[in-house]
């Protein structure tokens, strides 16, 4: 038996003939924190709902621990979900909400009580048993929703943009808490979000989707440093994307210049795209730079300044902690490590 707990094979989902998810293959390893990342409407939530069982794939197969669960109803899957808007039962108090799944599994009252209080402890809401869910803040409701799902000891926990409705500070705290929970409990998490920073912070592996197709699967570092196409590069952080030609291995031409790089295997004289992260470009004196330009605008972003530099007919985005005045002539410095090559789309 492999350690792939969930596996999707050639999965397509159509609504009234319109494909939302197009022939995707993916797998989730045991105890992995997998994030499905993409803009709204990319099919990430539909994919999650198929894993949960709320939607049935139009074609393709879904496996759970090696068994085909394509047509298994949600209540027969050892998978639980944390919903985007929490979906707590308004007619039950917190205790009853968390105990819902346990009661269905016919546990005795003593076991239920001990499991519920253990869960409340885990989400830092001990003593909230008798409270009504209406008396809770959004963050607290989210914790209850997580507790309600985790108390059933699912093998896989699905989370559908669970932090979307929380404010920034709370979101950051919850990101760390969720990650810790996942490590401690050893449960596989499948997390859906459109927030690239969230994905990079929490995940072991990221699946990037767009228009119902998988764009790239990889670890956060892989995806950030080696985006496979312009969409991924653009979606994960900001970047400068340029047309270029791979002259031969380790030598690339763009911006009317040859640069040494660390990539190979694209073939000689192949048109490619080059991704350069704004924070990788260093501003130096004009005569020291590989490229020369003029600072067009400066915006303070908190930790860094975002500067747009006009070079020939191109505009470069540069992030730096030091600022250059608008109108200053500057040089752009790049090292081979900073240049990422992607094969051209289409």
């Amino acid at each position: 038996m492999s350690d792939k707990i969930v596996k999707g094979l050639n999965i397509t989902k159509e609504y009234n003939g319109v494909p939302v998810v197009k022939n995707i293959d993916f797998w989730v390893k045991k105890n992995q924190f997998l994030t499905i990342l993409g803009p709204s409407g990319c099919g990430k939530t539909t994919t999650l709902r198929m894993i949960a069982g709320f939607e049935t794939p139009t074609t393709g197969q879904l496996f759970f621990e090696g068994k085909d669960i394509t047509n298994t109803p949600p209540y027969m899957r050892q998978i639980n979900t944390v919903f985007q808007k929490y979906a707590l039962f308004p007619h039950m108090n917190i205790y009853e909400n968390i105990a819902f799944g346990l009661r269905i599994n016919k546990l005795n009252e003593k076991e239920i009580a001990s499991k519920v209080s253990k869960m409340l402890e885990l989400v830092n809401l001990s003593g909230f048993e008798k409270r009504s869910i209406h008396s809770l803040s959004g963050g607290q409701q989210q914790r209850i929703a997580i507790a309600r799902a985790l108390v059933n000891e699912p093998k896989v926990l699905l989370l559908d943009e669970p932090l979307g409705a929380l404010d920034l500070k709370l979101r950051k705290e919850m990101q760390i808490e969720l990650k810790n929970m996942q490590r401690e409990l050893g449960i596989t998490f499948v997390y859906v979000t459109h927030d690239q920073e969230e994905a990079l912070t929490m995940s072991d592996k990221i699946i990037i989707m767009n228009h119902g197709e998988i764009q790239q699967i990889g670890s956060p570092t892989d995806i950030y440093n080696e985006p496979e196409n312009a969409f991924v590069a653009d979606f994960i952080g900001e970047s400068n994307i340029l047309e270029g030609i791979m002259i031969r291995d380790y030598l690339v031409q763009f911006a009317e210049r040859d640069f040494t790089c660390v990539d190979k295997g694209f073939g000689d004289n192949t048109p490619i795209e080059v991704v350069i992260r704004p924070e990788d470009i260093k501003l130096v004196a004009p005569e020291e730079g590989l490229l020369k330009g003029i600072v067009k605008s400066v915006v303070f972003k908190g930790v860094h300044y975002e500067m747009l530099v006009k070079e020939a007919d191109r505009t470069w985005m540069i992030h730096s902690t030091t600022m250059e005045q608008e109108g200053t002539h500057v040089g752009l410095m790049l090292t081979p490590d900073d240049i990422h090559i992607m094969s051209k789309e289409g």
């Binding site: 949960a52 069982g53 709320f54 109803p73 949600p74 209540y75 998978i79 639980n80 979900t81 919903f83 985007q84 808007k85 979906a87 707590l88 039962f89 308004p90 007619h91 039950m92 819902f100 799944g101 269905i104 599994n105 009504s132 209406h134 309600r148 799902a149 059933n152």
Partner: protein
């Protein structure tokens, strides 16, 4: 200040057409007219209302109203569920079809049942066509019950339908996700959350059912069948406004008490999400 001024006409309306008439009925119910035209205070009208004849009428009214309400609930809940689950493209039409009969005059609709159930009516026509003996459908308790269910069913379906439509679908998914099969999801989540709709529907059917006199007049005949008929007869035929008022007050009290009981039932934890049409 402006708010106070703007509410003036409504307050006047409420006072003139709701509070004053109720007080008048209350007054009529507690007096008798002497031969010289003066009023004397008395409780005899109320005492008379507890005569076994009238108590029987009252109890019969309650029984039929409860029966009609239960039948409407049993028929109406699944109907509301079917409507709520329908493809949105056809749903509007289906709901319309439900409402359209209500645009027709209430009397006409009940008359229509007379021609269906009557001695030479449609039903007996069908029976005799197949060589079966004629039957009496009209002028029976069953006919009155049928008339009530037919007329008041939409009032049960619509509030339940509204609640079911407004219900957050992710709650149902959450219940399925936590291991609930279809039956569990219904009994543990859908039914308790639709309770406000059920209570609205029950009140909206029970109240007109317990006080109607038109349906029983047409489908049962002109006897003291229901408490509504009793009141109507006292005012229009017997001309004893005082006794009629006393019975009307008792009926009002009865409805008030049943409403209070209903509110109590519905008040347990769902009031914040409740959709109450009343």
């Amino acid at each position: 200040m402006l708010k106070k001024l703007a509410s003036g006409p409504y307050l006047f309306w409420i006072a003139m057409f709701i509070i004053v008439p109720i007080l008048m009925i209350l007054f009529f119910s507690m007096v008798t007219v002497e031969s010289d035209g003066s009023y004397t205070f008395t409780v005899s009208n109320y005492v008379r209302a507890f005569d076994p004849i009238y108590v029987t009428v009252l109890l019969r009214s309650l029984k039929i109203a409860v029966q009609a309400t239960l039948i409407c609930l049993v028929l109406g809940y699944p109907m509301a569920m079917i409507l709520a689950k329908m493809d949105p493209r056809y749903r509007t039409t289906a709901v319309m079809l439900f409402v359209v009969p209500m645009w027709m005059n209430f009397l006409l609709r009940t008359y229509a049942w007379m021609t269906i159930l009557g001695k030479n009516g449609v039903l007996n026509g069908i029976l005799s066509f197949f060589g079966l003996p004629q039957m009496t459908f009209l002028y029976s308790e069953g006919a009155v019950l049928l008339g009530m269910v037919y007329n008041f069913l939409p009032f049960m379906v619509l509030p339940i339908y509204t609640v079911l439509m407004k219900m957050d679908k992710s709650l149902i998914e959450a219940a399925e996700d936590l291991g609930g099969n279809k039956k569990t999801v219904f009994t543990k989540v859908v039914l308790p959350l639709s309770l406000p709709g059920i209570l609205s529907g029950v009140s909206m059917v029970f109240m007109p059912a317990v006080s109607t006199f038109v349906i029983s007049n047409l489908l049962y005949g002109g006897q003291y069948m229901l408490v509504g008929n009793l009141i109507e007869q006292q005012f229009l035929v017997v001309n004893d406004w005082h006794f009629g008022s006393a019975v009307a007050m008792i009926l009002m009290l009865l409805i008030l008490v049943s409403m209070a009981v209903m509110n109590k039932l519905g008040g347990s934890g769902v009031e914040e999400k409740g959709v109450n049409l009343w």
